[in-house]
């Protein structure tokens, strides 16, 4: 049980560092969603079930969707069709 939580904690910290250093903004938003989902898993292990459902519904899904909508609008305003992978800047 402790080893399992140590592994999940390491993956969360690695994801947190990866958010700061990847180049593509869409990848950073996806990794943020993954960190949020792992936090929901940790909430279940701490026996906090209401918080787990709320974090999974709001943090993992809606927040990531909002980032994708905003990045799409930035791409459109840059005179570039928004079909490429992520924002190079």
């Amino acid at each position: 049980m402790t080893a399992f939580i140590v592994v999940i904690g390491t993956v969360m910290c690695a994801g947190g560092i990866a958010v700061l250093f990847v180049r593509s903004l869409r990848s950073a938003a996806v990794i943020n969603g993954v960190v949020s989902l792992l936090a929901a898993l940790v909430f279940v292990m701490m026996k906090a079930y209401d918080v787990a459902i709320t974090e999974a519904a709001i943090g993992a899904f809606l927040s990531t969707a909002l980032y994708f909508f905003a990045i799409r609008r930035i791409d459109e305003a840059k005179d570039k069709k928004g079909a490429g992978d992520g924002d190079e800047e």
Partner: protein, 256 residues
Amino acid sequence: MKNRYQSLIDIAGLIIVGIAVYLVGTALTDTSVAGKGMNSADFKQRVSYRYVIKSVEPSAKMEVKWGESGYEESSANIVTSIVVNYRGFDTLGEVLVLFASSAAVSLLILKRVPKKTFPPTQIMTSSVPLVNLLVFILGSFIILHGHLTPGGGFPGGAIIASGVILMALVFKKAFRPQMYLMLESIAGMGILIAGLLGLMYGESFLKDFFPAGQIGELFSSYFAMILYTLIGIKVAVEISNIGFHFISESKGEEAV
């Protein structure tokens, strides 16, 4: 062009964060200072013990069991009873913050200049109504059973809002915002009217004035069910309003 001093800024940030972590860590785990470290208070002396046994008697020996009635609060989910009943004023503040953020997004969003978009494919137009049926049923179940199972108004409202945003992405002209926003106003006024009824029939604002029900039944805690339904509707409308403004193509002011 990368910032020339980026590595210097990184190292400076690392030093600052390292010093802060060291200071906070030694301050919180120091056992010679009063408190004996974090998470050390006896659970029977915390405030939440009074929420768990649903009484403020100092020598309460009663044990709240499934199926009994007559307590001062009759919902089986203790977190729901805290959010709706014991700390209902904080929930009112949270609803206010969500309303403020939804209004801010509506006021600040600029006009979008849409480029070439692809029409939705056959997979989306034929599967989204089926998936949304399950999504709306799940969201309503989580809202209505907030006092029996984990969940409540906030995740249920978010799930319904995600279903609505999915429909708006695929079928572009499906919703009229005017009627939808009227629903949010009615739900918000309903919350305030419930609070004022608590002031009239109970002793204080947002007090549960219904008679105590049986813990575990679906219709045991009317106040929690009514308040969570109104909060669920309001949260769903507000979050889908935020989503609409991000994806719509005709609203907003012109960019300067």
